[in-house]
């Protein structure tokens, strides 16, 4: 009995998959600036360049879902109660599980690195085509729409101090070799913070080892205790706090694989005049083992008839052969806001975890709120004037909600009016709407800068932090806004070192002025 018969005796104990092509990085979406051919929307899904930039994993299926809808006007008198919030989630549930049927684009790549692209459930119908990778192409739909496409390797368009972010949440795997068997030793139970904590030697910057936490430089996990017992922020001899960020670009010089599309709005919706918001989100799926055995090369039919109409029944059967691995809609929706850090499959349907979202936001608020206050800035989070960040978790959403009410419901001010390119009555967006559902909601009447979409040049990591600022407060005579933490003059005045915005202000490579917009790979 089980003498030599346990599963792990002949198989892997630890995961063999270090880097996976299923790892989605970012979803960008914005209205095209190119007026030729009518209104168009640009959508770019980026993911790990495995096996190599420009070479695709043939076991993967990537899916971009798209749903257009009218912009909803917000009632003049808004209800900011928990009850109203839960009602909002219920509405979303009905919408995303009910009659809404998103259109979608599926991409698979074969052994010869040719991509099969399927356009499914669009107003003009469904069709499929096989295209070359790593080339800018135009795909003509059966109803005569021209869709630009690029499926291939590019420079990673994300630019941020990822190590700084991980330092802020005390994420051990960025700094330590955390054993596979110590799944609990990832986000350590230390207050999340923007300012280093006095005595937090597990994560504080070490001047003798300045590259620690960067480029894979890690240490052995100490035996413990993996905690912090201090009661104040760290200050240097000059009385300056130490920033957990140093503003460097951890993604510099890195490549991604990408699916980039420029799609006419008239292809996405029959009512482009009314449907001014295009919601989109991406998914990665990996072929199930059982189906790998049965896989045969792409049927010659596809190759001989590159533009074919699809049968919905066949398509559902196709998806059943794959397993959902990752989703991407909003930046930081999983890394920062998902209470279940292991669950990365929360797409547009993340409303079912809405209570966790509120509790997680409160948990983050107890970390970031006091940090913001210590810098002399106003925060949207109610932390009872705590002088230092606090590690606090919630089991009840009713306890967490009052703390985050303002953070959830405040409008995120924009730095100027350039985002509203037509000067329309477009309400500013609020975190509750931005993150639930987890989609990139591109407003066609704006530039598509975050949170009205996401443009390549947006510093979203820093804008994400801005939701913990009190948007009713003022700095230098102006209301706080989502770019405030990118303002060098703020840091020049702040009692902090280094005096830098948390994340780099621009990408390491210039973006292109034309499709496919993301820079060439390194």
């Amino acid at each position: 009995m089980a003498d030599h018969n346990d599963p792990n005796a002949v198989n892997s104990i630890f995961s063999d998959i270090d880097v996976s092509a299923a790892d989605l990085y970012d979803l960008f979406g914005f209205p095209s600036d190119d007026p030729a051919g009518g209104e168009k929307v640009v959508i770019a899904l980026t993911f790990a360049s495995v096996p190599a930039a420009g070479v695709f994993d043939t076991d993967m299926l990537y899916r971009i879902q798209i749903s257009a809808e009218p912009r909803v006007a917000r009632p003049a008198k808004d209800d900011h109660s928990l009850k109203a919030l839960l009602r909002y989630f219920e509405t979303l549930k009905d919408k995303y599980l009910g009659p809404l049927q998103a259109s979608e684009i599926r991409v698979t790549v074969d052994q010869s690195n040719r991509a099969t692209v399927k356009f499914i459930n669009f107003p003009g119908g469904s069709f499929s085509t096989v295209v070359e990778t790593n080339r800018v192409l135009t795909i003509d739909s059966p109803d005569g729409q021209a869709i630009k496409a690029f499926i291939g390797g590019r420079d990673d368009a994300f630019f941020n101090d990822l190590t700084g972010f991980f330092r802020s949440i005390n994420y051990a795997p960025q700094f330590y070799h955390v054993p596979h068997t110590m799944a609990g030793a990832r986000e350590l139970p230390i207050p999340k913070t923007l300012l280093e904590l006095e005595g937090n030697d597990l994560f504080n910057f070490d001047p003798n080892d300045p590259e620690w936490g960067y480029h894979g430089v890690k240490r052995a996990l100490p035996p413990g205790p993996l905690a912090w017992n201090g009661d104040k922020f760290r200050k240097d001899a000059q009385g300056n706090f130490r920033f957990v960020y140093d503003g460097r670009d951890c993604q510099a010089g890195k490549n991604v694989n990408a699916i980039i599309l420029e799609i006419p709005l008239a292809f996405i919706t029959r009512s482009p005049e009314q449907d001014r918001v295009v919601n989109t989100w991406g998914e990665s799926w990996v072929l199930k083992a059982a189906n790998k055995v049965e896989t045969i090369p792409d049927h010659p039919f596809w190759l001989e008839h590159p533009l074919v109409l699809l049968d919905a029944f066949t398509l559902d059967a196709e998806l059943k052969r794959y397993k959902l691995v990752d989703t991407d809609g909003q930046p930081f929706a999983d890394a920062a806001l998902s209470e279940r850090e292991d669950n990365r499959q929360l797409g547009a349907n993340n409303f079912w975890l809405a209570p966790h979202f509120i509790k997680r936001l409160a948990h983050l608020g107890w970390g970031f709120g006091p940090s913001i206050s210590a810098l002399g800035l106003a925060t949207s989070f109610d932390h009872d004037d705590s002088p230092v960040s606090v590690h606090k978790t919630y089991s009840l959403v009713t306890e967490a909600f009052p703390r985050v009410r303002k953070t959830l419901f405040q409008e995120l001010n924009m730095p100027d009016d350039s985002w509203n390119k037509k000067g329309l009555q477009i309400p500013l967006r609020r975190p509750v709407e931005i993150f639930i559902p987890n989609v990139c909601a591109i407003d066609l009447d704006t530039t598509g800068t975050w949170p009205f979409g996401r443009r390549l040049e947006d510093q979203v990591a820093t804008r994400f932090l801005s939701m913990f600022l009190d948007m009713e407060a003022e700095f230098n005579g102006r209301k706080y806004h989502i770019e405030l933490l990118n303002d060098q003059s703020l840091w020049d005045q702040a009692p902090i070192e280094p005096k830098t915005p948390p994340n780099p202000l621009k990408n390491d490579k210039e973006f292109l002025a034309h499709f496919p917009y993301l820079a060439d790979p390194w």
């Binding site: 089980a2 003498d3 599963p7 005796a9 002949v10 054993p179 068997t181 030793a185 990996v286 055995v293």
Partner: protein, 400 residues
């Protein structure tokens, strides 16, 4: 019949490709893995790759080398949980169950980790605490439903007669597996094949073994399962040829014994005997080195090949001291029967069957034992159960 362990067109098999990849990793890691100052992650990766290689090749001598490497890594890097987890697996593989428990306690947080809980449930199963094992598996599946834990629970259910439950769990395990885990998928297919084989559904079993072969080509474990099935089907020549091929890659004594038994069934005692001699010598050498993982095979060998009850009882008792479960209890019962201690054999077999195990071969042995003490009704009843479980229970089979 072509060799299932070689690909057509002489392309490398999946097994060969994986082995080469592991060897490349090992070559890259070897120089720095255990040099001082030791980097814990590199050392862990190195010994893990060694462990993977030994598991993949099925070579117990390699596993012994892995053990030395693990101990060395633990000494140099401190009490790393992953290393103790590897050590626990190694000890489990060698049936050193007391050490497994110790290993689980040594790694910080290991006992309460998902992996540690699954291994603790394995221990419960091996030590005859079936209900605790079931609860352990169900608990870890509830918290972290992975393919291997689903397969663990499936195996328990299969042994306890819940065939439908086992099949369902194996299916769920397969559904968790992706194209990046084809060897794991092949392994689960083998288990589904064994489930069919032990119920006499040879064609279904063959289909699963073929599927395993397609999923992960060139794997000796698949070939070995196929060889057993061919033997059960009475295709002795094909089975023997396949066993020879398996042994060319993995010269393990249990396969030598199986081939000897096949030749015995074919009436070729002269061809059988050298294989039996080799198998016995290897078993005894292993035991002579202080290893315990072949005790069960020794009991089985002396009972069924040599029909030497006294020796069989000796090894069966040694095994029972280590692991009190239906398998070791039944082995002792059968050894006692061979030794003419029929009443004691009946008591031991009753103890084994009281576990709830549903195994046609055990019921067949129970029938013979009860017959030997004059309990004809029970004997008839057990024969009937054996036939209900597997109408072909008397055909060739190997001890797993």
């Amino acid at each position: 019949m072509g060799s299932p362990m070689r690909s057509k067109m002489n392309n490398p098999t999946d097994f060969e490709i994986e082995l080469e990849r592991i060897d490349q990793d090992l070559a890259e890691l070897k120089g720095r893995a255990l040099t001082i100052p030791t980097d814990g992650e590199t050392a862990t990766r190195f010994v893990y790759r060694l462990y993977q290689r030994a598991s993949l090749t099925g070579d117990f001598a390699e596993l012994a080398v892995v053990e030395t490497a693990i101990n060395s890594a633990i000494r140099q890097t401190g009490h790393a949980a992953d290393l103790y987890f590897l050590k626990a697996h190694l000890d489990f593989k060698f049936h050193r169950l007391a050490r497994v428990r110790h290993d689980l306690e040594m790694g910080p947080g290991l006992r309460d980790s998902f992996q540690g809980r699954a291994l603790a449930a394995d221990l419960d199963f091996q030590e005859g605490r079936y209900e605790e094992a079931r609860k352990g598996y169900e608990g870890v599946i509830r918290d972290d439903p992975t393919w291997d834990d689903l397969a663990r629970l499936a195996y328990l259910k299969a042994k306890m007669g819940d065939e439908a439950g086992a099949e369902q769990l194996y299916l769920e395990a397969e559904d968790e597996l992706t194209a990046k885990q084809m060897r794991h998928y092949a392994w689960v297919e083998l288990q589904r094949g064994v489930l069919d084989l032990t119920h006499g559904r040879y064609e279904d079993a063959w289909a699963h073994y073929q599927q395993a072969d397609r999923a992960y080509s060139g794997y000796w474990l698949v070939a070995e399962h196929k060889a057993e099935l061919l033997g059960a089907q009475g295709k002795f020549d094909e089975a023997a040829a396949l066993y020879q091929q398996v042994m060319a890659r993995v010269p393990r004594p249990e396969f030598q014994q199986a081939l000897g038994e096949l030749y015995g069934l074919m009436g070729e005692r002269e061809r059988a005997e050298p294989w039996h001699e080799q198998a016995l010598a290897a078993y005894l050498e292993s035991a002579g080195r202080g290893e315990v993982h072949y005790y069960h095979h020794l009991a089985d060998f002396y009972s069924d090949v040599r029909e030497d009850g006294r020796e069989a009882v000796k090894w069966a008792r040694k095994d029972l001291e280590l692991r009190k479960n239906f398998s070791t209890q039944a082995a002792l019962a059968w050894a006692l029967y061979r030794d003419g201690q029929f009443a004691a054999a009946r008591d031991a077999m009753n103890q084994a069957l009281s576990s709830g195990v549903r195994d046609a071969h055990l019921f067949y042995q129970a029938a013979l034992i009860h017959q030997s003490v004059g309990e004809a009704d029970e004997s008839r009843q057990y024969l009937q159960i054996a036939a209900e479980i597997n109408p072909r229970y008397q055909n060739f089979h190997v001890h797993r």
